[in-house]
């Protein structure tokens, strides 16, 4: 598995597209949102807005990893790499883990970089760093769990990209990541409570602000992990079909 992990990690670190989607684009959106919504506001109000904007865009953009995951899995499937690896002693389970874990690691790094950016540029408070740490790991697990299931279900890359947009942008809009939830209609507020983005945003925002209780922390953490597990389990169920397609 180490071979697969190193291989994928190196491949992703060389990928400029990934750098753009995962780091440059969210930073651009954060800067734009802060300059549009928070400029001209007084200190406390501005701080509150930054506290909502930064974790909001963190949660929005972690899902963009799904594009890279879909591309990587489909490329391996269609160009014969999955089949070739089946002829080696590397087991299908370790192949899957070796491909998946680097993406989890990349998302975690992404979250750290975006929060650090918020801290350095906008003086974003990080009052409960341990909570932020565990939530960031759970968020990485969830985003890549969704990525895994998408990669193993979709037939084409375009289908994967389209569904990523629906999950990332649709979830962000309905989950209250881009504007306060109480400004949205009742029906949207109800839908938001079904979405993992909502729980991730709330928990992350409160942990940064230092207002996250243990109860709320575990509630948020387990909700995020539960969504991640659901993705992962669906992926595992679908995996034999993917392997069969790949092996011909």
């Amino acid at each position: 598995m180490t071979a697969m992990f190193k291989f994928e990690m190196k491949k992703n670190l060389q990928d400029r597209g990934l750098l753009f989607w995962m780091i440059i684009l969210p930073i651009a959106f954060i800067v734009l949102a802060v300059s549009v919504f928070a400029s001209g506001e007084d200190g406390t109000m501005k701080q509150q807005m930054i506290l909502s904007i930064v974790p909001g865009y963190v949660v929005t953009f972690v899902f963009f990893i799904m594009i890279s995951m879909v591309t990587a899995f489909l490329k391996d499937r269609d160009l014969g790499m999955t089949a070739r690896i089946a002829s080696t002693p590397l087991s299908p389970q370790l192949y899957l883990l070796g491909k998946w874990i680097p993406y989890m690691f990349i998302v975690w790094i992404q979250i750290i970089i975006l929060i650090a950016f918020g801290k350095v540029v906008y003086d974003l408070p990080i009052v409960q760093p341990l909570f932020v740490f565990f939530l960031s790991i759970a968020l990485s697990f969830m985003a890549t769990g969704f990525g895994l299931v998408l990669s193993l279900f979709v037939k084409t890359e375009n289908m994967g990209i389209a569904l990523t947009q629906v999950i990332a942008l649709g979830g962000a809009m309905l989950g209250g990541l881009w504007m306060p939830l109480d400004l949205l209609p009742d029906i949207i507020q109800k839908i938001a409570h079904l979405l993992p983005q909502y729980y991730a945003h709330q928990a992350l925002q409160d942990a940064l602000n230092g207002t996250l209780t243990y109860k709320a922390f575990f509630q948020g953490l387990f909700t995020i992990l539960a969504y991640g597990c659901a993705g992962f389990i669906l992926g595992i169920i679908r995996y034999p079909h993917f392997l069969k397609q790949a092996r011909g």
């Binding site: 180490t2 071979a3 697969m4 190193k6 291989f7 190196k10 491949k11 060389q14 160009l79 014969g80 790499m81 089949a83 070739r84 690896i85 089946a86 002829s87 080696t88 002693p89 590397l90 069969k244 092996r247 011909g248």
Partner: protein, 313 residues
């Protein structure tokens, strides 16, 4: 390596219908057949890529032999943005090579495939032949004693092809068993000791290349004269005659006797013979005599003028 009653279906389509093979250790074994004959499916079964099949495949009594087998797929399975060195390292790591041992082996394989001076260049900048050689190199990292190659010379220049043949000869000299699937008959004649013909999922003939040539292919004599003889002159008594390359090709079981007779025949008819040659039989002749020459990848309905089964009904 022994294959017993190997069967494989994809839904209603039967790809292999009970293939039986015995591949001698240390041989270079050719696997030939038309498109859709089942060669790639068979190779994938041998390489453990396909595992849901009926029948049995074993190597010296062992069912799992992944650690001593190297598979070269038809597709170029390399990471294009990585260097040759990094691609080889990846496959070496899969087989448990690490540190200095890994580096040393990568260097050895790079030299073996003729890419030592391009080791740090990215694969995307390589020519087709270089990519094919590296694709083979990835399967050699763990010094396998069985190498399975699926059309490794598709779309490459003659120099790279020759280099790959030399590599295969070297591997065979080192004691490797090689299973080589191809469409190119001349490749099988050049590098394989034994060959199996597969058509429509069945093994239709196998044996030593020379034996099969002797059994199925008829030698011919090519004759080109200064002026053509009238048809009534009775050349057909020598054997089956076909027009070929501005002359005549006479198929015969006794070419030397026929050559002598033709020479005498033309002399007696006061006609100068410009060329008189023995044409050695080719594996391609064996292939056609066993499989026929109709295309295998056309829609059978096309011959009827219909485009769908519904229309036929």
């Amino acid at each position: 390596m022994t294959l017993s009653h190997v069967k494989k279906s994809y839904g209603k389509h039967v790809a292999l219908r009970g293939v039986e093979l015995m591949i001698p250790s240390g041989s270079c074994y050719g696997l030939v057949g038309p498109n859709g004959a089942g060669k790639s499916t068979l190779l994938k079964i041998l390489a453990s890529v396909i595992q849901d099949y009926e029948g049995k495949v074993d190597l010296n009594g062992k069912g799992d032999f992944k650690d001593i087998m190297g598979y070269v797929p038809q597709e170029i399975c390399l990471e294009q943005t990585f260097s040759a060195f990094n691609n080889l390292s990846f496959f070496g790591r899969i087989y448990g090579l690490k540190g200095k041992r890994l580096k040393r082996r990568v260097q050895e394989v790079l030299e073996e495939v003729g890419l030592a001076d391009r080791s740090q260049d990215k694969v995307k900048d390589f020519s087709g032949g270089m990519k094919r050689r590296l694709n083979i190199g990835c399967a050699l990292m763990h010094r396998p004693s069985l190498i399975i190659m699926d059309e490794p010379t598709v779309g490459i220049d003659p120099q790279s092809r020759k280099y790959i043949f030399q590599m295969i000869h070297r591997l065979q000299e080192q004691g490797c068993t090689i299973i080589y699937a191809t469409h190119y008959m001349e490749e099988v004649e050049q590098i394989c000791d034994n060959v199996a013909f597969i058509d429509q999922g069945k093994m239709i003939e196998e044996g030593a290349v020379d034996d099969l040539l002797q059994k199925y292919a008829v030698p011919s004599v090519f004759v080109k004269a200064s002026k053509p003889l009238p048809e009534s002159m009775g050349m057909d008594t020598f054997g089956e005659i076909v027009d070929y390359n501005g002359g005549l090709l006479v198929k015969t079981d006794n070419p030397l006797l026929v050559m002598k007779s033709i020479s005498t025949f033309y002399q007696s008819n006061h006609t100068e013979v410009e060329r008189l040659e023995l044409v050695q039989p080719k594996l391609e002749d064996v292939f056609f005599s066993l499989t026929g020459s109709t295309l295998r990848d056309v829609n059978p309905l096309a011959k009827t003028g219909y485009t769908s089964k519904k229309e036929v009904i």
